[in-house]
Amino acid sequence: MQRKLFQLPKAPLFVSFLLGVLFGAIGINFLYGHKLDSLYLERNALYYQTNQKQKEINNLTEELNKLAKKKSDQNSDRILKVQVEVENDLRFAQEEVKSEVEKIVEPFIGKSSQWISNNPDLLDTLLQERTIEIRNSNSNTGAIQIQLQLKYIAFLDSTLKIWVTAQERAPNELTLE
């Protein structure tokens, strides 16, 4: 009984409050409805613009990736580095021979690998029986003559790999020339 008496005055109050909330919400809708509608429209327009910009960014990124790939494909056809492997019995002159051969074939850097693979005789002609002089501290004479011979060539992406046979020339051979 006590509980009912306590609840009765509260129930109409609560209903009045709910009705007040509803009427208040309707009133606010009346007052600010137009503004809200224009804000919603603006938001939709901004969403649309953002989507368009995002699409544009995606297209540009794709285009950029394509161009980067194209550029990298173009570069992969060019010789950017020459790697020389020397086959010889000389223990101390390996690096010197390598650097000398690298100097000789330096003009091929930047050239098309396809062009070189179609004309390997150019490299062969350049290195065929070519004699280079190397200063060797381990040798008694001070300088040794080395005769080069091209053995193999290979292309590894943008690297031209050359195998060269190097033979020390005897002093009497030198005098004959």
Binding site: L22, N29, F30, G33, D37
Partner: protein, 109 residues
């Protein structure tokens, strides 16, 4: 006031109340549901018209049954009364739609 006129007026206001109340509270709901409230109210006022008519007449089947009974019974006067109730409810719903349009657009068109 006779039974006929009181029913006619009641139907008119029931239909009007359904459209007005549905639209106004629908607008509040639309705002809570992150949609444009005015646009939702105008849409609802059009959509609720037919339901307001049905609600005012107390269900479509009863009215249709009354039409059938009266026509088959030869009571043309009763049929006319039913038609006036329908028209009254229709005008009530339409008035509600026009009021909502007028309130938010500033014109009846």
């Amino acid at each position: 006031m006779g039974q006929f006129w009181s029913t006619t007026i009641l139907d008119y206001f029931i239909a009007l109340g359904v459209v007005l109340g549905g639209s106004l509270l629908g607008g509040v709901g639309a705002f809570l549901a992150d949609r444009a409230p005015m646009d939702a109210m105008l849409g609802l006022s059009e959509q609720l018209k037919i339901w307001a008519l049905v609600a005012a007449l107390g269900g479509t089947f009863d009215t249709i049954r009354a039409f059938e009974t009266n026509i088959l019974g030869g009571q043309i006067g009763q049929v006319g009364q039913q038609l006036i109730f329908v028209l009254s409810a229709f005008f009530g719903a339409h008035t509600g739609t026009l009021l909502i349009r007028w309130l938010f657009q500033g014109s009846f068109h």
